[in-house]
Symmetry: C3
Subunit: 208 residues, 3 copies
């Protein structure tokens, strides 16, 4: 379990760092700005998870290798972002992958600490959604997380909930984590590709 979670954390740091660097490229920052935004996005959600669960030290302080990965991803993107045909599409799809991995990492940590089900689900959602939210708020854009009519928080919620159910039914955590990642990714990707969505609130005239 420990190794699996470390692997998930590294993967989510890497992919989120790439999204942070893509946002930095759209904001035309310099290379240190790329690294800053990449690190914020990459470790933001997991840091919040660790602070709330009082895990000490925070994962990237315990192992600064995470920062190395995020900074390397930022450097890479600084020199290659122009190769993408559409940087915004690349951002959306990388962000979807990062979401799936990070929700799984957050859920896994909370499961391994034997937290109650609502806390597990929320930790999954926080780890998955908060890094991207910080990235978007800091550069002054409407957060992807709140974009109207898309599955995002909903995908994270469904994935984390599936993990909790699977964890109750099976003995092996690995199944729960795979279910979590798969469901989150499928729902988010389906929303991006096919426009899957939940009904949104629409104001209706008050009853007569």
């Amino acid at each position: 379990m420990g190794v699996l979670i470390t692997l998930l954390d590294y993967t989510s740091v890497l992919i989120f760092a790439l999204t942070g660097a893509l946002v930095a490229s759209r904001a035309q920052l310099d290379i240190v700005g790329f690294a800053f935004l990449a690190c914020l996005t990459a470790v933001g959600g997991g840091t919040l998870r660790d602070v709330l669960l009082d895990r000490n030290p925070v994962f990237w302080i315990a192992d600064p290798g995470y920062i190395g990965v995020a900074v390397s991803a930022a450097m890479l993107m600084f020199f290659t972002a122009h190769l993408f045909e559409s940087r915004y599409r690349a951002l959306l799809w990388l962000d979807a992958c990062a979401l799936a991995v990070a929700v799984t990492a957050g859920t896994g940590v909370a499961l391994s600490l034997a937290q109650p089900a609502p806390v597990v689900i929320i930790m999954g959602m926080i780890t998955g959604c908060m890094g991207g939210l910080m990235r978007d708020v800091v550069v002054g854009q409407v957060p992807l997380v709140l974009k109207q009519g898309e599955l995002y928080v909903s995908a994270a919620f469904a994935g984390a909930s599936a993990a909790v159910v699977a964890d109750h039914l099976t003995e092996t955590n690995a199944i729960a984590l795979v279910a979590c990642a798969a469901i989150t990714l499928v729902l988010r990707a389906g929303s991006l590709r096919f426009g899957w969505r939940l009904p949104v609130y629409r104001s209706r005239p008050p009853r007569a």
Copy 2:
């Protein structure tokens, strides 16, 4: 004291969750977006208070019932928000009530931990103001907390200060908490209803 604070926390979570859901309705989010914004608003201020005071675990991790209340409030609002004649007015008034209750909850916690007066006042202000601030920043609106020419932070400050004074003068904390809630609510409501305000900064020409 403990029971009273739990009650205050529950009440403030409920009312702040309603305001978060109202903001979600104005942003036309789906039902999971409602729940997300309701939870962020409802527990944001208290979470910050607990992290700063190093209270472990954070209140809603110790008792996930808070999350249940916030999510229920979001569901309710998703199906009933259209019944309000003006959702913005409803938001302002619910937010005023939530402010009064949450400032009191924050002040009560800090008093029960025997913190020095400035810390008590600040914890009251943080618990009261930060949830709403996060709600507004995340959806990209000018925070209510900083709206020019209204008593908001000032009302929180006056209420929390009154609690500190009352706590020094009397033996029973309950009086301090009632004073805190009453003063905060009266000042905020007076500002909304009658336009009470402090003088704001206006740039003047430099002296000749």
Copy 3:
């Protein structure tokens, strides 16, 4: 070392509080709004540093004198901001000084806790940059920290890195701290005054 860090913390709180109050004057807030924004800016970065490093209690809870300094600075600015010929220029230059002092304070704390080099550098950057970032995000402006084509995060990074190098080479921490402050300030001031900058990302057409 302890005394020196306390002195740096006080100085950075004072100067950052002045910048927060200047931003409050531009947003035409009332006097409590001045104090709120001054405190948020003044202690925001250091608070994040302390929470991440699990230093208990947070510096301004251990010694509420910091809050007193920030509030006094806000009061002073409320009555004198109109004396500045250009409040925006004053803001930029005060912010540069605050950055240099705060980066040094953050670096010093992490060095005194014997953290590894990447963590020391990041703590310097967080302490220096995050207070101003919170100030700008809360009032809905593009953060100074991300202003395109200026050295800001880069100056913080260079200063903190210099401190790490100097700390390895010399026995006395004081030299490391002086180097950190000097390099951060010179780079930031050079960027403001002479337009020093790093190359920024520019999208180029994809290769043929």
